[in-house]
């Protein structure tokens, strides 16, 4: 990755990308799973390190970067239903994301957009099920037994 396309740059782009659903607000779980899929599908090196956590793949580095992006006024939080806190970009963050997109290249942006659309189209449990079935090694510490819900 170069100086502009850093891991937090990709995070910012992911939050900012408009989808078919015209949605650019995302929950922390959607961000976490989105960044995980981005790493896997784009084969990103020098990116976030994920571990199997209580809700599947998780990188604590993402939380640090979310805090840092908030401090830079690139993103902000919006209270959502059931105590979830959603993230969205500010006009300043959106402008920064556009610069990063130009360097990142349309091919990678297309994949990121597809990942975001996939994540947004799924309910909370569907999203976990998708990730857990595709990457079972990251589900081993999960507090949610997806199979139990099917019974």
């Amino acid at each position: 990755m170069n100086n502009i396309v850093t891991r937090d740059g990709i995070l910012l782009v992911f939050i900012d990308l408009r989808t078919k659903q015209e949605q650019n607000i995302v929950s922390p779980i959607q961000i976490m799973k989105g960044m995980f899929l981005a790493k896997e599908e784009l084969k990103l090196e020098d990116f976030y390190i994920f571990e199997p956590y209580l809700y599947g793949p998780c990188s604590f580095q993402i939380y640090s970067d979310l805090l840092a992006l908030q401090l830079k006024n690139f993103i902000k939080t919006i209270p959502g239903p059931s105590s979830w806190k959603y993230y969205t970009t500010t006009p300043l963050g959106s402008a920064k994301a556009k610069i990063i997109i130009e360097v990142l290249g349309m091919e990678k942006v297309k994949v990121l957009r597809e990942i975001k659309e996939l994540i947004i189209s799924k309910s909370f449990l569907e999203l976990l099920e998708y990730i857990y079935s595709k990457y079972p090694e990251y589900a081993r510490n999960s507090i949610v037994n997806i199979e139990g819900f099917k019974k």
Binding site: Y53, Y55, C58, S64, L67, F124, L125, I143, F149
Partner: protein
């Protein structure tokens, strides 16, 4: 006001607290952020609820005895500590009674010590305001502070001795978070969580990022509960 809990897990101890103290100003009580759990040595964590001043004095007593406590956790050293603490508590009690004409509301402290012994066992040592002692690890968990009945109610349902530290952190976070959100006890954020790992010997305070991750794990847990109840209702 304060809530501190300590959970004995199969691989160590998790202890957590809320982060708000009620201070006193001329104009009335004020909220202050405060740390309530402290690392005394590489194997001892100190937590206490009660009057800030008395908690500070109690911590000083423990700091005097840390070397002995780390080397030998026996009845003699525990009695020496409790005698010193008793002097502090009694002085506060007498002073309060002499000034206010009643003993209620005396600024005392309730202490929870988490300690990893040389033999690898972990103990939760509770010293009550009258300086009686008990070991709560035999029950599995201990609570101290104004929201303790609330915490005991939640822990009765959530605690399992088979729980590991990873799940213990989440349970501890949930108990403190629910007490802050629901109870009108004067509790507040930030939530502070420490672990004492008996297998690795690690003793550490969770970083802000991990607390954020626990918050999301808690929301995941609640979301799952909602789904479970939805399924139950749908069946009816």
């Amino acid at each position: 006001m304060t809530l501190i809990i300590a959970l004995k897990c199969k691989d160590g101890i998790v202890t957590a607290s809320d982060g708000q103290a009620t201070g006193f100003s001329t104009g009335g009580p004020i909220r202050q952020k405060i740390q309530k759990i402290f690392k005394l040595t590489d194997n001892i964590l100190f937590g206490a609820s009660g009057s800030v001043g008395t908690v500070q004095k109690s911590k000083e007593i423990f700091e005097r005895f840390t070397q002995q406590l780390s080397n030998k956790f026996d009845l003699d050293i525990r009695d020496q500590i409790r005698q010193s603490l008793f002097q502090i508590m009694k002085n506060e009690f007498d002073r309060h009674k002499a000034f206010h004409g009643k003993s209620e509301g005396a600024p005392l402290a309730d202490i929870l010590i988490c300690i990893k012994l040389k033999n690898g066992n972990c103990k939760i040592w509770h010293i009550t305001p009258d300086c009686a002692e008990e070991f709560l690890d035999e029950l599995g968990y201990g609570c101290s502070g104004i929201g303790d009945t609330f915490a005991y109610t939640l822990l009765k349902n959530y605690y399992s001795p088979e729980m590991d530290i990873e799940r213990g952190k989440l349970v501890a976070y949930r108990v403190i978070k629910e007490a802050i959100e629901i109870g009108a006890f004067g509790l507040g954020e930030p939530i502070d969580i420490w672990i004492l790992n008996k297998e690795t010997g690690e003793i550490k305070e969770l970083a802000k990022e991990e607390i954020m991750a626990l918050d999301d794990a808690l929301l995941t847990w609640r979301e799952t509960e909602r789904e479970v109840f939805k399924k139950i209702y749908e069946r009816k």
